[in-house]
Symmetry: C2
DNA sequence: GACCTTCATTGACAAACGTCGATATAGACA
DNA sequence: TGTCTATATCGACGTTTGTCAATGAAGGTC
């Protein structure tokens, strides 16, 4: 699959008011939960962290397999989950795929947790 | 079980530096992931939201069943998950159990998502 | 063309999860 | 004591999830 292939990606831009401030409707709760669910796995959190802290702002997928100690297909699967959650984006260049974080989505999740 | 019964509760106080700032070790990633996993369900998010936005700062468990549209055992299960994640605390008074949010834990999760 | 490398997908499996009905526990009150 | 109510636990179930080996697809090099 080409990296640019359409993929249904979670969008938190319109969603949601901070959890502690206002009452959420069921739809917003479901949307938000999807975002947090993507963060709810240690391997994904490590991947996201590796990508987010990379000096260049992006990381080759090839450099993500060894640090998390999982098989290449497993890492690929988790990267897909992160992409579907809109937390990272991928860019194919030649043989390699480079991953970067999507700051807006992380910001949205952070806002959802803000103090009242 | 008494509400005060020891329960292994996740503690995020020492954990972790913001995801986008520093490299996380595997243990911190696992700890943090547990926190987010607890937020990764729409029913739990709704419960947390109902508790957090309550005027009195606490909500009777009896008032949490109807709004989320699940059975009483299911709600009880989710409340336990939230307690284990350290996101809410429970206080039994007479026949009723009152739930409040644990702000420090939510703050810790919010910090983990902070911009670099 | 043939071959190699990178990454995604498939298929299988065990473990974890969300859900509910039934039941247990504990407190209130007569 | 007995009964009623609120909440937790148990047991079972179907579904989802994380994982890997095997395979496929796409791009590079010769």
């Amino acid at each position: 699959m080409a990296v640019g292939t359409p993929l249904t990606v979670l969008d938190l831009d319109e969603c949601c008011t901070p959890l502690r401030r206002e009452v959420l409707d069921q739809t917003d709760a479901a949307t938000l939960a999807e975002g947090f669910k993507a963060l709810g796995d240690p391997v994904r959190l490590q991947l996201l962290n590796l990508i987010a802290t990379a000096d260049a702002g992006e990381v080759c997928a090839c450099d993500l397999v060894e640090p998390v100690g999982r098989s290449q297909p497993t890492v690929s699967h988790h990267l897909k989950v992160l992409r579907e959650a809109g937390l990272v984006t991928a860019a194919k260049r030649g043989t390699w795929v480079w991953y970067s974080v999507a700051p807006a989505q992380l910001d949205a999740l952070q806002r959802a947790l803000a103090r009242r």
